[in-house]
């Protein structure tokens, strides 16, 4: 629940009321008890109780008058809740591809449960996704998004250049290859000097690598690539993503 200094700690039903009042004011310029009751499908008496509580927190301007307005503090709180609601709805609907209505419902539940910090991080992540739509596309193309089962997955997923090695999905690396097999490099995910050395030796995406033999005990590996014989350790080979030769 919110605990930052410029908002008052209010329970989730009250947040919903605040949100409703804000929307009504936005739409009609004012909100009346019966409009609120209608929108939230509760009795007017219930609304009154809630309004009294909100007034105690100086969130609404309520003196048993018919027209209810939000204080500036209340307006800030309402906008915040609404922004969360919209963001989460979009997240469930647009990225996770849930039906709109179910997405809105999930958003309603979740918007109250998240702390400010968690929400802030989600917002930042969302901003990142907005800037980098290829990540969303990659996710939606990936069989993982469609809920594919593990076994058939690895081969298909390994063709995606955006996949990182440390994905939960087990990708095939050069260290999984048996002697005598031939594979195609999809990505060199090693770091620093190793990566540059491999690139310099011609181990680039789409080149064919044959694993010819291994040392005693399976290490190091002896491969052929671009006409050269190379020896590399198993730990190094595990940073090279490959797919089976078509």
């Amino acid at each position: 629940m919110s605990s930052s200094s410029d908002t008052v700690s209010i329970s989730s039903p009250l947040e919903d009321y605040l949100e409703t009042i804000y929307l009504l004011v936005q739409e009609h310029g004012f909100a009346r008890v019966r409009d609120i009751a209608g929108a939230r499908r509760v009795k007017a008496a219930t609304v009154s109780v809630a309004l009294r509580k909100l007034a105690e927190g100086k969130l609404v301007d309520y003196q048993r008058r018919e027209y209810i307005g939000l204080t500036s503090k209340g307006e800030r709180a309402a906008r915040r809740i609404l922004a969360r609601h919209r963001l989460l709805t979009r997240f469930f609907a647009e990225i996770l591809k849930m039906p709109r209505e179910a997405a809105a419902e999930q958003a309603c539940t979740l918007e109250h449960a998240l702390t400010d910090e968690a929400m802030d991080r989600i917002v930042r992540f969302f901003e990142f996704l907005g800037r980098c739509p290829s990540v969303i596309e990659a996710f939606q193309r990936c069989p993982v998004a469609a809920g594919a089962d593990e076994p058939g997955l690895s081969a298909a997923a390994s063709t995606c250049a955006s996949c990182a090695v440390r994905n939960d999905v087990k990708l095939m690396t050069l260290s999984d290859v048996e002697p005598g097999q031939s594979v195609v490099v999809t990505q060199v995910a090693s770091g620093g000097a190793l990566r540059q050395r491999l690139l310099d030796m011609g181990m680039l995406p789409d080149t064919v690598v044959d694993l010819e033999r291994t040392g005693l005990g399976g290490d190091p590996l002896w491969v052929r690539c671009q006409g050269a014989r190379l020896a590399l350790r198993r730990s190094e080979a595990s940073t090279i993503l490959v797919r089976r030769k078509a």
Binding site: S134, A161, S162, V188, G192, A193, L194, R195, Q196, R197, L198, L199, D200, M201, G202, L204, P205, R213, T214, G215, L216, G217, D219, P220, W222, Q226, G227, A228, R229, L230, A231, L232, R233, E236
Partner: protein
């Protein structure tokens, strides 16, 4: 990729005015490892070459002169590198040499590996160098059915292209002519097209470079390094006035190119290099669809690196090398020994019989004796280097690293550490020098520092003296084996500790090319052996000479004013043969000398590990060379024949010391204080006294501690 020129004028290909040269011509040889660059270098320079180290790094700098060229000049053989990306010391050295602007850069390639080897040429072109392309090993490529349209290639590249067979000297005359031609007419602009997007980005960055970072040569290279985010270049340029802008621009282009291609920038740039090479080769290379140049190598490898047969075969090969080194080497060693002895005698005769001239002693005992003790090992070293050079040139060395890497890696070492370590059983000096094959600084230092723990040949006489003195016959062989085993175990343990503490860091990439087997030429093997042995000899002539003189002085001066033995003889208390009198006098000399006094002074320090002043004094002398310990013990015990391996010395040792002290002594001598030549070579090979002194101090401390443990625990048990 096409080879047309960019239409817009680009700063990258702006014509350069090269001022007339006032200094001698400078030619650099660049190339991948295993491209036969050294054979080209040898063919060009003959024996007119010398090897040194680059300052601060353990990279060999080979330079020479070529008399065939029109004008005199220096030829530099750059270290073999796959690229100039400055990840290894070799690459940094090569980059720096090329940025310094040699007049001509000969890029040597293996004609059978062109698609990989020409990538370095692309980088050399980016550096704005004035290249000559040398297509080496042209015979192998022709045998595989490949032909290169050299004229077409020259037309497309705009600089000379020459086919050679380096080890047979074929095409060297043409190469020399090409270098002359290139020196006279340097390339004005390179026809290098890496794709419009990349070329535009590089041009843009190059324009933004502040003038000091924009050498007439190499703007494209600096721009590329900034684009791929090379930290050294980025820092260097950012520190310059207006450099921040270029760095920011490079970052912008990087983001843009990565977003546009969906590809990491390093991969993107490397792919473009390979793309250019592919395009070029498509225009100039004709070869049958299926070339199999490697059949013979593969057939050999099927046996040599066989899962089960590989290691035993390797053991056999190593045994053969050692047999050659130490059995065959024994004969010339004997001759040199005799020669040195005769030299000593010859020098002595310049003085009258019985003279005790200090100069005579200095020359005979100090200089001839000290340096001679090291020169004696020259045949061993020559033969060992001959064997190693042969294995290296055939391509077997890389296989050996492949076979042993798994074992060595467990202890934080590298497959290539194995051969230097094994060499250490013969002598630490060639072992330490053999660590040059290790590319990574940390691997090399670790190997170097623990190498003296391999019980060297000079320690064998000590074991031969001590083991029979303290152990019954049945125990002698096992004790010797245990000593060797203990040294190995300690070396591996220490290597592991070093890699986790002082020399911590990620493992260097092991990725290693296994070159095709080639028949080594006598010329190249002998040259390699000689240039490396030169280093050893030079060391013997300088540092080792100096230390020998110091040690001689320490064991000779000051002289006692009179000898007790003379007094006793005068009183008639003793009746001794003349040799015995001499021996007594020598013992008194030593006891009275700095070494003897130091021995006495240090004796309390060594008391906890059971040593008395006699042992300590002998050990001070043994710093010159380990085996001197035996002779020094002989002198201390005033044995007439110097006590060389005699039973009388053993009997005296057994009388004076317990077997426990014997063990403690062997442990200490195995580990502590490697000889002065080892320290001097470590200093040279590591490039700093810091590591040499650490080796000396560290091993001595460990030796002391372990001897202490042996001695104290032993006393509790017994």
């Amino acid at each position: 990729m096409t080879l047309t020129l960019l239409e817009s004028p680009s700063v990258l290909s702006a014509p350069r005015a090269r001022p007339p040269r006032a200094r001698p011509l400078r030619v650099a040889l660049a190339g991948n490892p295993n491209c036969g660059k050294t054979s080209i270098f040898n063919a060009l320079t003959g024996a007119r070459q010398h090897v040194a180290n680059y300052a601060g790094v353990t990279v060999e700098r080979r330079a020479g002169t070529c008399p065939l060229l029109n004008e005199p000049g220096e030829l530099i053989d750059l270290p073999g590198t796959y690229s100039l990306n400055a990840y290894s010391p070799e690459e940094r050295v090569a980059e720096a040499e090329l940025l310094a602007g040699p007049d001509v850069v000969v890029v040597v390639t293996d004609s059978t590996q062109l698609q990989r080897h020409l990538v370095l040429l692309v980088q050399v072109m980016q550096l704005g160098a004035n290249p000559v392309l040398c297509l080496n090993m042209a015979d192998e490529a022709r045998a595989a059915g490949q032909t290169i349209d050299v004229e077409q290639m020259e037309r497309l590249l705009g600089f000379p292209v020459v086919e050679t067979v380096g080890h047979r000297g074929e095409g060297i005359d043409r190469l020399v002519a090409a270098i002359d031609r290139a020196a006279r007419n340097p390339v004005e602009r390179h026809k290098l097209v890496l794709g419009e997007d990349l070329d535009r980005a590089l041009d843009d960055i190059a324009r933004a470079l502040p003038p000091p970072a924009r050498p007439e040569q190499g703007a494209a290279w600096v721009a590329t390094r900034l684009l791929v985010g090379d930290q050294r270049q980025t820092r260097r340029v950012a520190a310059l006035d207006g450099g921040e802008e270029a760095v920011a621009l490079a970052r912008l282009h990087r983001t843009r190119l990565e977003a546009a291609t969906g590809c990491d920038i390093a991969v993107f740039v490397t792919e473009r290099y390979f793309g250019f090479v592919d395009g070029l080769l498509r225009e100039v290379r004709h070869r049958p669809r299926h070339v199999d140049t490697r059949q013979l190598t593969d057939r050999i490898d099927a046996v040599v690196v066989h899962r089960l047969a590989g290691l035993p075969l390797f053991a056999l090969v190593m045994f053969a090398v050692f047999w050659l080194t130490f059995t065959v080497g024994d004969y010339p060693m004997g001759w040199i020994d005799a020669g040195i002895a005769r030299l000593g005698e010859g020098l002595s005769q310049l003085w009258p019989e019985g003279s005790d001239s200090p100069l005579r002693s200095l020359l005979v005992d100090g200089m001839v004796g000290g340096v001679g003790g090291v020169i004696v090992f020259l045949p061993n070293i020559l033969l060992l280097f001959l064997g190693l050079a042969f294995l290296e040139d055939t391509g077997y060395m890389a296989r050996a690293a492949f076979l042993t890497d798994r074992l060595m890696h467990r202890f934080g070492l590298h497959g290539k550490s194995f051969i230097p370590l094994v060499t250490g059983f013969g002598c630490s000096i060639p072992g330490i020098m053999a660590t040059r094959t290790l590319e990574n600084e940390r691997d090399r230092l670790t190997t170097m520092l623990v190498l003296p723990l391999m019980s060297c040949g000079a320690r064998l006489p000590i074991w031969m003296l001590l083991i029979p003195a303290f152990f019954p016959p049945a125990w002698r062989a096992p004790t010797l084996w245990m000593l060797y085993g203990f040294g190995i175990a300690l070396a591996l343990l220490l290597a592991l500790t070093l890699r986790r503490t002082l020399l911590r860091g990620d493992d260097a990439p092991f990725v290693m090319e296994l070159p095709p087997y080639r028949q080594p030429t006598l010329r190249s093997v002998v040259l390699k052996m000689l240039t490396r042995s030169q280093v050893y000899l030079r060391k013997a002539g300088t540092t080792i000479l100096a230390i020998s003189i110091l040690l001689w002085a320490a064991t000779t001066y000051p002289k006692p004013p009179s000898y007790q033995v003379d007094a006793q003889l005068a009183k008639g208390e003793l009746a001794l043969a003349p040799e015995e009198v001499e021996a007594r006098r020598a013992a008194e000399d030593l006891e009275h000398s700095i070494a003897g006094r130091l021995g006495r002074a240090l004796a309390p320090v060594f008391a906890p590990i059971g040593f008395d002043w006699k042992i300590v004094t002998a050990m001070i002398g043994a710093f010159a060379a380990k085996e001197v310990f035996v002779a020094q013990m002989g002198i201390v015990y005033s044995l007439a024949d110097g006590g060389q391996g005699t039973d009388s010395l053993r009997a005296l040792l057994a009388r004076d010391y317990s077997p426990l002290v014997g063990i403690s002594l062997m442990v200490f001598l195995l580990i502590a204080a490697p000889c002065m030549a080892t320290i001097a070579v470590t200093r040279r090979e590591s490039g700093s006294w810091r590591w040499a002194l650490l080796q000396l101090g560290g091993l001595t401390a460990i030796g002391y501690l372990l001897a202490l443990v042996v001695c104290q625990l032993g006393r509790l048990v017994i």
